[in-house]
Symmetry: C2
Subunit: 343 residues, 2 copies
């Protein structure tokens, strides 16, 4: 019998389609080996030596070299084809019946490594910590501008996940609006807080740690879960155990632990499911909700193992063809090699 | 400069990414010619002669033959791997902190033609009318059961759109819940109605017919639009000009005109964009909102020409890399062959 499950935070229902359910092993595809990538590609705008092929950098982690020169470890540049661009205040205007505004905002690319042939799962832990520290630097910088109402840090890994450039990179978009979907989730969290006097995400963390059925990793500061109402197979959430509304508030001494848990989780996917395509995004409070007792930032990972279709388009109800508890069990047991044994 | 546009009905914002915008012609891909399909495939459960490979049919249009025998024109069967299954009343239960319920509902497949090698664009107009009349018959039948709170008729065309079986078919899912996304859209429509005393979709139809910028087809009873805030390139909406909350209320004498406009629209996509993959869904009022003055059914088509990625996952804001007005202009000019010249 299929089962409908309600997400405790968002109130979205998901169909867990047991009649068509697959075993976790069924999602391990022998993916066609990509052409072995070169360490550096002359034509890649993100490779060292090609710094002039991007707009001027806004930030970089470097070992002493000058801006827009090789020698960087992580490099941030404005997106050459931005979805939103910096400009003056984003006033609304009418277009006949409709409302529109200039596409004001920021769209940055975080080039995660000089190496063309890497992905997060094959970086070192230190390199991942560098990337996450840059996330925080850029978040804090963009957050100074109150026009940036929402800042989204996200990553598209692989062609199925919508990436166009192979060189490892994440993206940051700052929007001048809070979209209805984000607002609605906050509203649900606020209602829970007003009724129960607790943050709904703190409540989920406490409950999941007690029952342990969907916990993939339990670290001192972070927990990795397959959500009870996961929308897609092997969906994962990394939630800080400490309450914090906005990613920008993460203390410096938690950056390393967060990078480590993200890195380990991506390595479990990489080794357990053989390098699946995925998206991840850091879900965080909008500018004016920072510090709120009901908002709680977290990182969501969605492997692209199935294709949402017309039913999802028409209802926003996802059909998940796997069991969250089985997914979590599978990922707990994935053993990842010692970094020293790679390369 | 990119532009943000707000959907007048749902209040969702969309980024029209002019900096990375493509011309309509850029979406016309030379798609790899699929293996020329046979008219009939021995192994296909939807081909005539293989009726025993599906569950027993729930309905069919036939020329005199008996149930589950060849000789049908359109055949409806329960999905063999259903997302939801018929059962007693869908009571909620607790699973610790969470809410769940049995996956009660209906999941049917509408086999649109005996011919394995067709798609809606290559059916005849009469065949399409048959399919749409079956949609209405099934909608009305499923709608008798008040447990079916929402009935979604949808179609997945092509692999990119999530289809698994090639033989032309649509699907109908009846859910025992109204999902939050549907509820929110209705709530926005209700607010508009309470303020203005008019249906928001009637208002959009009137405005679009006046300005004509995004109209693809203007028929006596239906209009085909590229929405002002289209979320993906070549998104299309077919809206009845007459106000009607639920698809189940469509009068019999409008089934032909609706089938004709749907058929012509899909043919424009087929010939104009060279057989793109797409999803379509009939967005209609839930069981208890039928007859409401603010709800207005319509059919939405989404070609799968781009890949929503981490930004869409994190914000539900879509980035559309094309201009709705250009898309509409392009589709208006697509000439489709006379049916007699095909085959």
């Amino acid at each position: 019998m299929p089962e409908l499950r309600q997400d405790f935070a968002t109130k979205e229902w998901v169909i867990i389609a047991t009649e068509r359910a697959k075993r976790p092993e069924d999602f391990v595809k022998e993916r066609s080996e990509p052409d072995r990538l070169p360490e550096r590609d002359d034509k890649c705008p993100f490779c060292p030596g090609n710094e002039r092929m991007t707009p001027e950098e806004t930030y970089a982690l470097r070992n002493g070299s000058g801006p827009n020169e090789p020698g960087w470890l992580v490099r941030v540049v404005p997106n050459k084809f931005p979805a939103l661009v910096p400009d003056s205040r984003p006033y609304r205007s009418r277009s006949g019946l409709y409302l529109r505004m200039k596409g004001v905002g920021f769209h940055e690319v975080v080039i995660e490594t000089p190496r063309h042939d890497k992905c997060p799962a094959t970086l070192t832990e230190d390199e991942m910590t560098g990337v996450v520290s840059v996330y925080k630097q850029r978040y804090s910088e963009l957050n100074r501008n109150p026009t940036n109402e929402l800042i989204l840090i996200f990553r598209n890994q692989g062609k199925q996940a919508g990436t166009s450039l192979i060189h490892p990179h994440s993206q940051i978009v700052a929007t001048p609006i809070v979209p209805p979907a984000v607002r609605r989730t906050l509203y649900e969290a606020e209602r829970f807080y007003d009724a129960m006097g607790r943050c709904v995400h703190c409540e989920i963390v406490n409950y999941e740690l007690r029952v342990q059925e969907r916990v993939v990793m339990d670290e001192p500061d972070f927990v990795v879960l397959v959500p009870y109402a996961a929308q897609v197979p092997f969906e994962l959430t990394i939630i800080p155990k400490f309450h914090q509304a906005s990613f920008g508030e993460i203390p410096d001494d938690k950056i390393g632990p967060f990078a480590r848990v993200l890195w380990t989780t991506l390595r479990k996917l990489y080794y357990g499911l053989k390098n699946p395509d995925y998206n991840f995004a850091i879900i965080t409070a909008p500018h004016y909700s920072q510090g709120e007792p009901h908002a709680h930032w977290h990182l969501r990972i969605r492997p692209r193992l199935t294709t949402p279709a017309g039913f999802e388009m028409g209802t926003q109800i996802f059909i998940n063809t796997s069991l969250p508890e089985e997914n979590a069990h599978f990922l707990r047991q994935v053993s990842i090699p010692e970094p020293s044994s790679e390369q």
